[in-house]
């Protein structure tokens, strides 16, 4: 039966650590904005040259 006591302690520790992680995440503001990060991760890091934009020369002559 004493194995059960050890198991209970371990299970409480595991569950407690998840609770701690949750509280930590809330405090860090991870639940403040649940939308923007999902969009942000899709952006490319660098800005590739856009082939559809006019060249610098044509812009300058127009101005």
């Amino acid at each position: 039966m004493s194995a059960l006591f050890i198991l209970i302690i371990i299970s409480m520790l595991v569950a407690g650590s998840f609770l701690f992680l949750f509280l930590h995440a809330v405090k860090k503001g991870q639940y403040d904005d649940t939308y923007t990060p999902s969009v942000r991760m899709l952006f490319d890091d660098s800005t590739p040259a856009d082939p559809t934009t006019p060249s610098q020369e044509t812009l300058n002559t127009k101005n």
């Binding site: 006591f5 509280l23 809330v26 969009v39 952006f43 490319d44 559809t52 934009t53 006019p54």
Partner: protein, 808 residues
């Protein structure tokens, strides 16, 4: 000619602006292969192109903002003021300033991308990140390299003007409260789950077998330990609010919950210390957990909307002051004093009552009075606070400080001290709950007296605590919170955003509706145009069109749009006199479009509508008359509302629209030339004769009436823009649905009543078994969540079905 016309129309409607995606009208600007609807859009494109930010257009196609034309050079110079900065920044050091800016025009993934690349547009920006649901940009910048006024101006130039007002600063407070709510739910959920798990041996009587007492004891004491955070942390708000109510000598919703939680805990502690049982920690944690979830569901607020703005959010943060030595200085509005001279530029708002000293003042009071035409002021005239100057800059001397000005005095009225606690007191849930609580205490005391009389003190304690635990009104309240939460979210999806759940009931209880005119039942942006005079000859039509198309003034745009399929001719000697009109020479004839005085017409200046006169070669041909167009679907809405409500109309305008509105409102139900104070008084009179009044308005001039009314709905064409303090914000586009929305609020109330009946039934059944001592712990443990969940699903599903029936 005739055959080519449809084709021509086709191309102009199919062409969409590369930047903002709006269909290009007559004034299409081409740059390479790209079409732009206006100069503003083209300018933004050029800025982005020069800074290598054209990925903007790849993220989401043609979704840019056309820059707001009302932004002028120097609009943000006040942000250089250290006092202003101090209030706005939430962190500042030598090398870093942190600020949150509210940008209501954020609307798509492109916006996020662009605003998070601000450092490419301004080298001084260290980083920027967007919070999309809040329409907020967090900017970190180096004050040595740039300053806030530059950043704000830059953002405005690309179509993302930040809205800065000192009134909105306290939002950060609310955020902390939201986080606290998550933490409490997390803790309660964790404890509830684990207590349930630890209670399983108890439910199935495993631990009571011989030789396993130590195990049983361990589980019980672990449950006790897990119940402590629920009691002392998660359930905190119930105790605090219940105690406050008790101290103010009234009952509120939280009091019975607090009592039940405390009673369950004490009884459980007694049971485990005396060794008579395992306690009811599972029920206690469950009650708290479910209640907190219900609260969170119900109080899910609209983060970008603000329901308690006053004039401060509308007024500028700072204005230019002229010192005696002639130099100009910026000063925050609250520091303005009598006798100071201020300079107000085009599109700036006059923040205090003042006398006009210099300049050509044309003050647009549309926000204060609802009157849409700018009013011309002469030197020495008093200009009231809240007016917006249109035209060149003017100089004024302040006669009253901001707080005491004519408009802002409205906010000193008693109506603005009304607070939400009263609304809670008056709510149906609270009333039923009061009877319920009293009823429970009566039953409990009868039972107590009975057992005390029989001389069985132990059983007396037993009976009393059992009654209080089983008859907890929590299920009752769960039903109400979930129904309200669902109603709020369904109405929100349909474009009616309520401040809180109490508003549902206020809307359901109204029997009179008062409408404002301009901006509420009429559209601000769209005007109905009609030409008064003899029919224009074809050759003149073309000349007038050619002249009108030269200008981007809203009235010119409307005139040019009224001619379809014409070719513009060349205009010579074009001249645009701001605020007066246009003139030019077309086909050798002098064409003029503009106000009566611009064309030299002498009239009694009492037009009821906006007029633009037309003359060719000095011959007056007639005038264009502009009326604000009524919102589409209004007739239908009014006829539906008439069946149930008495309807009234209050307008700050002159009587000009009376004829048009006669079909909607009774003759004596229409009031014109109403000052903000008059409106408030009108509502208050209606209330005194026993009506529950619903006010539907839009501007600052309605602020008093919105506040005084039992429920105030602010109509707004862009819900993120300014709206005065109110109980609900309605998207102007869905105004026709108002009748079914009000119906739905009543439905919601009915659903709550039925759920109450259902939960009462549960309570009686529970009470019956528990009094007879026939409730097995395992049955009780299963029943508790089952009843909660069944009530919650009943409330949510019925309210959703009701919404479908109402077409919402």
């Amino acid at each position: 000619m005739i055959t080519s016309q449809p084709g021509q129309k086709q191309t102009s409607t199919n062409l969409h602006c590369y930047h903002c995606g709006e269909p290009c009208k007559e004034t299409t600007i081409h740059l390479e292969e790209k079409a732009f609807c206006c100069d503003g859009c083209k300018l933004v494109f050029e800025i982005l192109y020069e800074n290598n930010l054209c990925t903007y257009y790849d993220v989401a196609k043609s979704s840019g903002n056309s820059p707001d034309s009302s932004v002028y050079v120097g609009k943000f110079t006040y942000l250089k003021q250290p006092e202003v900065l101090k209030q706005l920044l939430h962190f500042s050091s030598e090398s870093q300033h942190h600020i949150k800016l509210f940008v209501p025009r954020i609307h798509c993934s492109s916006c996020i991308w662009l605003l998070e690349n601000l450092q490419k547009l301004d080298g001084g920006v260290i980083s920027s990140s967007v919070n999309f649901p809040r329409r907020e940009v967090n900017i970190v910048y180096n004050p040595a390299q740039t300053d806030l006024s530059k950043i704000a101006a830059r953002m405005a130039s690309i179509g993302y003007e930040p809205h800065i007002s000192l009134g909105d600063i306290d939002k950060i407070q609310r955020r902390k409260a939201v986080r606290g709510q998550w933490l409490k739910i997390g803790v309660a959920g964790f404890c509830f789950g684990n207590i349930m798990m630890m209670s399983f041996p108890e439910y199935f009587s495993i631990g009571s077998l011989a030789g396993q007492e130590s195990l049983q004891q361990t589980f019980i004491w672990l449950n006790f330990a897990l119940a402590l955070p629920v009691l002392f942390y998660s359930a905190q708000e119930f105790f605090v609010s219940g105690w406050t109510a008790l101290r103010n000598k009234h009952l509120n919703i939280d009091l019975p919950i607090a009592a039940a939680v405390l009673m369950t805990f004490l009884r459980s502690v007694y049971e485990i210390t005396s060794g008579t049982g395992a306690g009811y920690f599972d029920s206690m944690a469950g009650i708290v957990f479910f209640m907190l979830i219900g609260r969170a569901f119900q109080s899910r607020t609209y983060e970008t909307l603000s329901f308690d703005r006053d004039y401060k959010s509308y007024f500028p943060v700072a204005v230019s002051i002229l010192k005696p030595d002639g130099t100009e200085d910026q000063i925050t509005v609250s520091d303005l004093k009598k006798g100071m001279r201020m300079r107000i530029r085009n599109q700036e708002v006059v923040p205090a009552d003042a006398i006009l000293l210099r300049g050509d003042a044309r003050i647009d009071y549309s926000f204060v009075t609802g009157e849409s035409d700018p009013e011309k002021k002469l030197l020495g005239d008093i200009v009231y606070a809240g007016g917006r100057q249109t035209g060149a800059s003017i100089e004024l001397e302040i006669v009253k400080p901001v707080k005491y000005s004519y408009l802002t005095q409205l906010w000193n009225h008693a109506a603005f001290r009304k607070d939400d606690a009263e609304a809670e007191q008056a709510s149906m849930v609270n009333k039923i709950n009061q009877y319920f609580t009293v009823g429970i205490f009566v039953i409990a005391s009868i039972a107590a007296f009975y057992w005390w009389n029989a001389g069985e003190n132990a059983r007396m304690m037993d009976a009393v605590t059992t009654i209080l635990i089983v008859a907890c009104p929590c299920i009752l309240l769960l039903a109400a919170t979930f129904t309200n939460g669902n109603v709020l979210s369904i109405l929100g999806k349909n474009g009616l955003y309520l401040k809180n759940a109490f508003v549902i009931e206020k809307l359901a209880g109204a029997n009179a509706i008062v409408f404002d005119k301009t901006g509420t039942i009429t559209l601000n942006s769209q005007a109905a145009i009609r030409f008064v005079g003899e029919q224009l000859p074809e050759k003149y039509r073309q000349s007038i069109y050619s002249l009108a198309i030269q200008s981007t003034h809203p009235l010119s745009l409307l005139i040019s749009a009224s001619f379809k399929g014409l070719q513009a001719k060349i205009v010579k000697e074009f001249c645009d006199v701001t605020g007066s009109g246009l003139k030019g020479e077309v086909d050798g004839k002098a064409v003029q479009l503009g106000s009566a005085s611009f064309l030299g017409i002498k009239t009694v200046n009492l037009f009821s509508d906006t007029r633009v006169y037309v003359s060719v070669d000095e011959e007056i041909l007639g005038y264009y008359s502009f009326d604000h167009a009524l919102r589409p679907g209004l007739a239908n809405l009014i006829s539906k509302l008439k069946q149930r409500f008495s309807l009234f109309l209050l307008s700050g305008d002159k009587e000009n629209d009376k004829d048009r509105l006669r079909s909607f409102f009774a003759e004596d139900a229409m009031q014109f030339r109403q000052q903000p104070d008059d409106k408030l008084q009108f509502i208050s009179n209606l209330q005194q004769s026993g009506n529950k009044v619903l006010m539907v308005g839009d501007g600052l001039n309605d602020a008093g009436a919105l506040r005084q009314s039992d429920a105030g709905i602010a109509v707004s064409d862009n819900v993120n823009n300014f709206s005065p303090a109110c109980d609900a914000i309605l998207d102007g586009k869905v105004l026709p649905k108002l009748a079914s929305m009000l119906q739905y609020c009543r439905d919601g109330k009915r659903v709550i009543a039925v759920s109450f009946a259902l939960s009462l039934l549960y309570n009686f059944v529970g009470l019956y078994f528990s009094v007879r001592g026939e409730l097995e712990p395992v049955v009780a443990a299963i029943l508790m969540p089952v009843t909660s969940i069944s009530i919650v699903s009943f409330a949510t599903i019925t309210s959703s079905l009701m919404a479908r029936r109402r077409g919402l």
